[in-house]
Symmetry: C2
Subunit: 204 residues, 2 copies
Protein backbone atom coordinates (compact mmCIF):
# COMPACT_ATOMS: atom_id res chain seq x y z
CA UNK A 1 0.00 0.00 0.00
CA UNK A 2 1.49 3.30 -1.06
CA UNK A 3 0.43 6.86 -0.66
CA UNK A 4 1.51 8.46 -3.87
CA UNK A 5 2.44 12.12 -4.16
CA UNK A 6 3.14 13.85 -7.48
CA UNK A 7 6.12 12.67 -9.56
CA UNK A 8 9.58 14.29 -9.15
CA UNK A 9 9.70 18.07 -9.30
CA UNK A 10 10.51 19.72 -12.57
CA UNK A 11 12.31 22.47 -10.64
CA UNK A 12 14.87 20.14 -9.14
CA UNK A 13 17.94 20.78 -11.24
CA UNK A 14 18.89 17.61 -13.12
CA UNK A 15 22.61 17.03 -12.83
CA UNK A 16 25.06 14.59 -14.38
CA UNK A 17 24.89 12.54 -11.21
CA UNK A 18 22.83 9.41 -10.70
CA UNK A 19 19.36 10.07 -9.33
CA UNK A 20 19.50 10.03 -5.55
CA UNK A 21 16.56 9.05 -3.35
CA UNK A 22 16.47 8.92 0.43
CA UNK A 23 14.22 6.99 2.78
CA UNK A 24 13.72 7.58 6.48
CA UNK A 25 12.92 4.17 7.94
CA UNK A 26 10.68 3.85 11.02
CA UNK A 27 10.49 0.05 10.86
CA UNK A 28 12.39 -2.21 11.31
CA UNK A 29 14.75 -0.28 13.60
CA UNK A 30 16.29 -0.95 17.00
CA UNK A 31 15.29 0.64 20.25
CA UNK A 32 17.73 1.31 23.08
CA UNK A 33 17.70 -2.36 24.17
CA UNK A 34 18.21 -3.67 20.60
CA UNK A 35 14.59 -4.74 20.31
CA UNK A 36 13.11 -4.37 16.84
CA UNK A 37 10.44 -1.68 16.94
CA UNK A 38 8.47 0.86 14.93
CA UNK A 39 9.17 4.52 15.74
CA UNK A 40 6.77 7.40 15.32
CA UNK A 41 6.81 9.84 12.42
CA UNK A 42 7.85 13.29 13.68
CA UNK A 43 7.07 16.67 12.21
CA UNK A 44 10.67 17.85 12.52
CA UNK A 45 12.13 14.85 10.67
CA UNK A 46 9.78 15.45 7.76
CA UNK A 47 10.61 19.16 7.56
CA UNK A 48 14.33 19.20 8.20
CA UNK A 49 15.23 16.29 5.96
CA UNK A 50 12.94 17.51 3.16
CA UNK A 51 14.66 20.91 3.21
CA UNK A 52 18.13 19.30 3.14
CA UNK A 53 17.06 16.85 0.43
CA UNK A 54 15.69 19.55 -1.87
CA UNK A 55 18.79 21.71 -1.27
CA UNK A 56 21.01 18.88 -2.51
CA UNK A 57 18.86 17.86 -5.46
CA UNK A 58 17.50 14.60 -4.05
CA UNK A 59 14.67 13.32 -6.30
CA UNK A 60 12.29 12.05 -3.60
CA UNK A 61 12.35 11.75 0.17
CA UNK A 62 10.40 8.71 1.35
CA UNK A 63 9.00 8.53 4.86
CA UNK A 64 8.57 4.81 5.50
CA UNK A 65 6.25 3.69 8.25
CA UNK A 66 3.88 0.71 8.41
CA UNK A 67 1.32 2.36 10.73
CA UNK A 68 -1.79 3.68 8.99
CA UNK A 69 -2.69 6.23 11.70
CA UNK A 70 0.79 7.77 11.48
CA UNK A 71 0.31 8.19 7.74
CA UNK A 72 -2.85 10.15 8.53
CA UNK A 73 -0.84 12.40 10.86
CA UNK A 74 1.87 12.90 8.25
CA UNK A 75 -0.73 13.66 5.57
CA UNK A 76 -2.15 16.35 7.83
CA UNK A 77 1.27 17.98 8.20
CA UNK A 78 1.94 17.77 4.46
CA UNK A 79 -1.48 19.14 3.57
CA UNK A 80 -1.09 22.10 5.94
CA UNK A 81 2.08 23.21 4.15
CA UNK A 82 1.08 22.18 0.65
CA UNK A 83 -2.53 23.25 0.29
CA UNK A 84 -3.47 24.77 3.66
CA UNK A 85 -2.48 28.03 5.35
CA UNK A 86 1.21 27.08 5.40
CA UNK A 87 1.40 26.92 1.61
CA UNK A 88 0.96 30.68 1.29
CA UNK A 89 2.63 31.59 4.60
CA UNK A 90 5.91 29.88 3.73
CA UNK A 91 6.51 28.84 0.13
CA UNK A 92 9.93 27.33 0.85
CA UNK A 93 8.27 24.78 3.13
CA UNK A 94 5.75 23.97 0.45
CA UNK A 95 8.54 23.38 -2.07
CA UNK A 96 10.50 21.19 0.34
CA UNK A 97 7.51 19.06 1.30
CA UNK A 98 6.55 18.53 -2.33
CA UNK A 99 9.36 15.96 -2.61
CA UNK A 100 8.05 13.89 0.33
CA UNK A 101 6.34 10.57 -0.38
CA UNK A 102 4.80 8.42 2.34
CA UNK A 103 5.25 4.66 2.02
CA UNK A 104 4.33 1.67 4.15
CA UNK A 105 7.34 -0.53 3.34
CA UNK A 106 10.79 -0.37 1.79
CA UNK A 107 9.57 -2.76 -0.90
CA UNK A 108 7.01 -0.12 -1.78
CA UNK A 109 9.78 2.47 -2.09
CA UNK A 110 11.72 0.21 -4.45
CA UNK A 111 8.61 -0.18 -6.61
CA UNK A 112 8.07 3.57 -6.89
CA UNK A 113 11.69 4.16 -7.88
CA UNK A 114 11.45 1.42 -10.50
CA UNK A 115 8.27 2.97 -11.86
CA UNK A 116 9.96 6.39 -12.07
CA UNK A 117 13.30 5.33 -13.50
CA UNK A 118 12.78 1.91 -15.04
CA UNK A 119 15.69 0.62 -12.96
CA UNK A 120 16.15 -1.11 -9.63
CA UNK A 121 17.84 1.15 -7.10
CA UNK A 122 21.31 0.53 -5.69
CA UNK A 123 20.45 0.51 -1.99
CA UNK A 124 22.88 2.05 0.51
CA UNK A 125 22.17 1.67 4.22
CA UNK A 126 23.66 3.99 6.83
CA UNK A 127 24.81 3.31 10.36
CA UNK A 128 26.47 5.30 13.14
CA UNK A 129 28.61 2.27 13.90
CA UNK A 130 31.19 0.04 12.25
CA UNK A 131 29.82 -3.50 12.20
CA UNK A 132 29.64 -6.97 10.76
CA UNK A 133 29.07 -5.90 7.17
CA UNK A 134 31.66 -3.99 5.11
CA UNK A 135 31.36 -0.22 4.90
CA UNK A 136 31.83 1.88 1.78
CA UNK A 137 33.55 5.24 2.14
CA UNK A 138 31.89 8.54 1.31
CA UNK A 139 34.55 9.04 -1.35
CA UNK A 140 33.79 5.81 -3.17
CA UNK A 141 30.02 6.34 -3.05
CA UNK A 142 30.53 9.89 -4.32
CA UNK A 143 32.56 8.48 -7.21
CA UNK A 144 29.84 5.90 -7.93
CA UNK A 145 27.25 8.67 -8.22
CA UNK A 146 29.27 10.06 -11.12
CA UNK A 147 29.43 6.85 -13.12
CA UNK A 148 26.37 4.83 -12.19
CA UNK A 149 23.24 4.96 -14.30
CA UNK A 150 21.26 3.18 -11.58
CA UNK A 151 19.31 5.30 -9.12
CA UNK A 152 20.75 5.30 -5.59
CA UNK A 153 18.51 4.86 -2.55
CA UNK A 154 20.02 5.99 0.76
CA UNK A 155 18.40 4.51 3.89
CA UNK A 156 18.39 6.44 7.15
CA UNK A 157 17.35 4.77 10.39
CA UNK A 158 15.35 6.30 13.23
CA UNK A 159 15.45 5.16 16.87
CA UNK A 160 18.73 3.34 17.59
CA UNK A 161 19.34 2.59 13.94
CA UNK A 162 18.54 0.22 11.07
CA UNK A 163 18.48 -3.49 11.86
CA UNK A 164 21.30 -5.84 10.83
CA UNK A 165 18.84 -7.53 8.45
CA UNK A 166 18.37 -4.26 6.55
CA UNK A 167 22.13 -3.73 6.40
CA UNK A 168 22.70 -7.27 5.09
CA UNK A 169 20.02 -6.90 2.43
CA UNK A 170 21.38 -3.54 1.19
CA UNK A 171 23.89 -3.40 -1.66
CA UNK A 172 26.25 -1.45 0.59
CA UNK A 173 26.45 0.27 3.97
CA UNK A 174 28.03 3.70 4.23
CA UNK A 175 30.83 4.33 6.75
CA UNK A 176 29.74 6.11 9.94
CA UNK A 177 30.09 9.87 10.18
CA UNK A 178 32.79 10.50 12.73
CA UNK A 179 33.68 13.78 14.32
CA UNK A 180 36.68 14.62 16.42
CA UNK A 181 36.40 12.48 19.52
CA UNK A 182 34.69 9.36 20.73
CA UNK A 183 31.23 10.93 20.90
CA UNK A 184 29.15 10.48 17.75
CA UNK A 185 25.49 10.76 18.51
CA UNK A 186 24.24 12.99 15.74
CA UNK A 187 20.51 13.41 15.27
CA UNK A 188 19.18 11.71 12.13
CA UNK A 189 18.48 15.24 10.81
CA UNK A 190 22.11 16.30 11.28
CA UNK A 191 23.44 13.00 9.90
CA UNK A 192 21.24 13.32 6.81
CA UNK A 193 22.46 16.87 6.18
CA UNK A 194 26.14 15.93 6.52
CA UNK A 195 25.72 12.83 4.36
CA UNK A 196 24.06 14.79 1.55
CA UNK A 197 26.72 17.50 1.71
CA UNK A 198 29.54 14.94 1.56
CA UNK A 199 27.98 13.02 -1.32
CA UNK A 200 26.37 15.79 -3.34
CA UNK A 201 27.87 19.09 -2.14
CA UNK A 202 30.14 21.11 -4.37
CA UNK A 203 32.74 21.65 -1.66
CA UNK A 204 34.09 18.13 -1.24
Amino acid sequence: MLTLRPPPLGETKRSVLADVYIALVHHPVYDKQQNIVTTSITNIDIHDIARSALTYGVRRYFVVNPVRSLHALAEKILDHWQVGHGSTYNKTRKDALSIVTLAYTLEGVHQIIEQHTGKTPYVVATSAKWGKTDRVTFGSLRARLRVSDRPILLLLGTGWGLTEAILERADATLEPIEGKGTYNHLSVRAAAAIMLDRLLGSAA
Copy 2:
Protein backbone atom coordinates in the same frame (compact mmCIF):
# COMPACT_ATOMS: atom_id res chain seq x y z
CA MET B 1 23.66 38.71 33.02
CA LEU B 2 24.88 35.22 32.30
CA THR B 3 23.72 31.81 33.28
CA LEU B 4 26.92 29.89 33.75
CA ARG B 5 27.17 26.17 33.26
CA PRO B 6 30.27 24.11 34.15
CA PRO B 7 33.54 24.83 32.29
CA PRO B 8 34.44 22.93 29.11
CA LEU B 9 34.23 19.15 29.29
CA GLY B 10 37.35 17.19 30.08
CA GLU B 11 36.09 14.44 27.79
CA THR B 12 36.08 16.62 24.70
CA LYS B 13 39.21 15.54 22.88
CA ARG B 14 41.62 18.49 22.65
CA SER B 15 43.01 18.75 19.14
CA VAL B 16 45.70 20.85 17.49
CA LEU B 17 42.97 23.12 16.15
CA ALA B 18 41.96 26.47 17.60
CA ASP B 19 39.21 26.26 20.19
CA VAL B 20 35.86 26.52 18.43
CA TYR B 21 32.73 27.91 20.08
CA ILE B 22 29.30 28.29 18.53
CA ALA B 23 26.43 30.59 19.44
CA LEU B 24 22.81 30.27 18.35
CA VAL B 25 21.50 33.83 18.24
CA HIS B 26 17.81 34.56 18.92
CA HIS B 27 18.25 38.34 18.92
CA PRO B 28 18.86 40.43 16.87
CA VAL B 29 17.59 38.43 13.89
CA TYR B 30 15.25 39.16 11.00
CA ASP B 31 11.74 37.87 10.61
CA LYS B 32 10.15 37.14 7.24
CA GLN B 33 9.53 40.86 6.57
CA GLN B 34 13.09 41.89 7.55
CA ASN B 35 11.92 43.30 10.88
CA ILE B 36 14.40 42.85 13.72
CA VAL B 37 12.91 40.45 16.26
CA THR B 38 13.64 38.00 19.05
CA THR B 39 12.86 34.35 18.30
CA SER B 40 11.94 31.69 20.82
CA ILE B 41 14.32 29.07 22.17
CA THR B 42 13.30 25.62 20.91
CA ASN B 43 13.95 22.26 22.45
CA ILE B 44 15.07 20.75 19.15
CA ASP B 45 17.65 23.47 18.44
CA ILE B 46 19.23 22.92 21.84
CA HIS B 47 19.39 19.15 21.41
CA ASP B 48 20.38 18.79 17.77
CA ILE B 49 23.06 21.45 17.75
CA ALA B 50 24.50 20.28 21.10
CA ARG B 51 24.84 16.74 19.71
CA SER B 52 26.52 17.99 16.53
CA ALA B 53 28.76 20.36 18.50
CA LEU B 54 29.99 17.67 20.88
CA THR B 55 30.55 15.25 17.98
CA TYR B 56 32.87 17.78 16.32
CA GLY B 57 34.73 18.82 19.48
CA VAL B 58 33.21 22.28 19.88
CA ARG B 59 34.19 23.68 23.32
CA ARG B 60 30.86 25.35 24.21
CA TYR B 61 27.51 25.87 22.54
CA PHE B 62 25.93 29.16 23.61
CA VAL B 63 22.19 29.69 23.35
CA VAL B 64 21.80 33.47 23.24
CA ASN B 65 18.44 34.97 24.10
CA PRO B 66 17.61 38.19 26.00
CA VAL B 67 14.27 36.94 27.39
CA ARG B 68 14.39 35.82 31.01
CA SER B 69 11.33 33.54 30.83
CA LEU B 70 12.84 31.66 27.87
CA HIS B 71 15.96 31.05 29.95
CA ALA B 72 13.74 29.47 32.57
CA LEU B 73 12.27 27.18 29.90
CA ALA B 74 15.71 26.26 28.60
CA GLU B 75 16.94 25.59 32.14
CA LYS B 76 14.05 23.20 32.64
CA ILE B 77 15.01 21.27 29.49
CA LEU B 78 18.68 21.17 30.46
CA ASP B 79 17.89 20.08 34.02
CA HIS B 80 15.64 17.26 32.83
CA TRP B 81 18.47 15.75 30.81
CA GLN B 82 21.31 16.64 33.14
CA VAL B 83 20.00 15.88 36.61
CA GLY B 84 16.40 14.69 36.12
CA HIS B 85 14.99 11.46 34.68
CA GLY B 86 16.60 12.06 31.28
CA SER B 87 20.11 11.94 32.72
CA THR B 88 19.84 8.25 33.48
CA TYR B 89 17.47 7.39 30.62
CA ASN B 90 19.80 8.72 27.92
CA LYS B 91 23.39 9.45 28.86
CA THR B 92 24.33 10.66 25.38
CA ARG B 93 21.83 13.51 25.72
CA LYS B 94 23.27 14.39 29.12
CA ASP B 95 26.77 14.54 27.66
CA ALA B 96 25.66 16.68 24.72
CA LEU B 97 23.75 19.16 26.87
CA SER B 98 26.66 19.55 29.27
CA ILE B 99 28.35 21.81 26.69
CA VAL B 100 25.35 24.17 26.47
CA THR B 101 25.60 27.60 28.13
CA LEU B 102 22.71 30.05 28.21
CA ALA B 103 23.56 33.71 27.71
CA TYR B 104 21.54 36.91 27.44
CA THR B 105 23.75 38.75 24.95
CA LEU B 106 26.60 38.16 22.50
CA GLU B 107 28.75 40.47 24.60
CA GLY B 108 28.21 38.06 27.47
CA VAL B 109 29.38 35.20 25.26
CA HIS B 110 32.55 37.09 24.37
CA GLN B 111 33.23 37.64 28.08
CA ILE B 112 32.89 33.96 28.93
CA ILE B 113 35.24 32.95 26.11
CA GLU B 114 37.77 35.53 27.28
CA GLN B 115 37.52 34.19 30.81
CA HIS B 116 38.08 30.63 29.58
CA THR B 117 40.88 31.27 27.13
CA GLY B 118 42.39 34.63 28.04
CA LYS B 119 41.87 35.76 24.45
CA THR B 120 39.22 37.64 22.52
CA PRO B 121 37.43 35.39 20.05
CA TYR B 122 37.68 35.75 16.27
CA VAL B 123 33.98 36.11 15.45
CA VAL B 124 32.60 34.49 12.31
CA ALA B 125 28.99 35.16 11.33
CA THR B 126 27.03 32.89 9.01
CA SER B 127 24.39 33.67 6.43
CA ALA B 128 22.40 31.70 3.86
CA LYS B 129 22.91 34.56 1.39
CA TRP B 130 25.70 36.40 -0.35
CA GLY B 131 25.53 40.06 0.69
CA LYS B 132 27.10 43.43 1.26
CA THR B 133 29.99 42.20 3.38
CA ASP B 134 32.72 39.91 2.04
CA ARG B 135 32.42 36.20 2.62
CA VAL B 136 35.23 33.87 3.67
CA THR B 137 35.30 30.40 2.17
CA PHE B 138 35.02 27.23 4.22
CA GLY B 139 38.49 26.31 2.99
CA SER B 140 40.13 29.46 4.26
CA LEU B 141 38.38 29.31 7.63
CA ARG B 142 39.40 25.66 7.93
CA ALA B 143 42.99 26.67 7.26
CA ARG B 144 42.76 29.45 9.86
CA LEU B 145 41.66 26.94 12.50
CA ARG B 146 44.97 25.17 11.99
CA VAL B 147 47.17 28.20 12.51
CA SER B 148 45.25 30.60 14.75
CA ASP B 149 45.82 30.64 18.49
CA ARG B 150 42.71 32.78 19.00
CA PRO B 151 39.46 31.01 19.84
CA ILE B 152 36.88 31.08 17.03
CA LEU B 153 33.25 31.94 17.72
CA LEU B 154 30.78 30.88 15.01
CA LEU B 155 27.43 32.71 15.05
CA LEU B 156 24.29 31.00 13.78
CA GLY B 157 21.09 32.95 13.23
CA THR B 158 17.54 31.82 13.92
CA GLY B 159 14.40 33.18 12.19
CA TRP B 160 15.32 34.70 8.82
CA GLY B 161 18.95 35.16 9.78
CA LEU B 162 21.44 37.39 11.58
CA THR B 163 21.04 41.14 11.06
CA GLU B 164 23.40 43.14 8.82
CA ALA B 165 24.67 44.91 11.95
CA ILE B 166 25.87 41.59 13.39
CA LEU B 167 27.54 40.68 10.09
CA GLU B 168 29.31 44.05 9.93
CA ARG B 169 30.55 43.79 13.51
CA ALA B 170 31.90 40.24 13.02
CA ASP B 171 35.52 39.67 11.98
CA ALA B 172 34.28 37.65 9.00
CA THR B 173 31.16 36.13 7.49
CA LEU B 174 31.24 32.58 6.15
CA GLU B 175 30.09 31.85 2.61
CA PRO B 176 26.59 30.39 2.32
CA ILE B 177 26.14 26.62 2.14
CA GLU B 178 24.90 25.90 -1.34
CA GLY B 179 23.52 22.66 -2.64
CA LYS B 180 22.82 21.63 -6.20
CA GLY B 181 20.12 23.99 -7.42
CA THR B 182 18.61 27.34 -6.55
CA TYR B 183 16.85 26.12 -3.41
CA ASN B 184 18.86 26.56 -0.22
CA HIS B 185 16.60 26.70 2.78
CA LEU B 186 18.34 24.44 5.22
CA SER B 187 17.16 24.37 8.82
CA VAL B 188 19.61 25.99 11.24
CA ARG B 189 20.16 22.50 12.67
CA ALA B 190 21.16 21.10 9.27
CA ALA B 191 23.29 24.16 8.45
CA ALA B 192 25.11 23.87 11.79
CA ALA B 193 25.85 20.18 11.17
CA ILE B 194 27.18 20.78 7.65
CA MET B 195 29.26 23.76 8.76
CA LEU B 196 30.90 21.80 11.57
CA ASP B 197 31.60 18.86 9.28
CA ARG B 198 33.17 21.11 6.63
CA LEU B 199 35.32 22.99 9.16
CA LEU B 200 36.19 20.27 11.64
CA GLY B 201 35.41 16.93 9.98
CA SER B 202 38.17 14.53 9.03
CA ALA B 203 36.77 13.88 5.54
CA ALA B 204 37.31 17.28 3.90
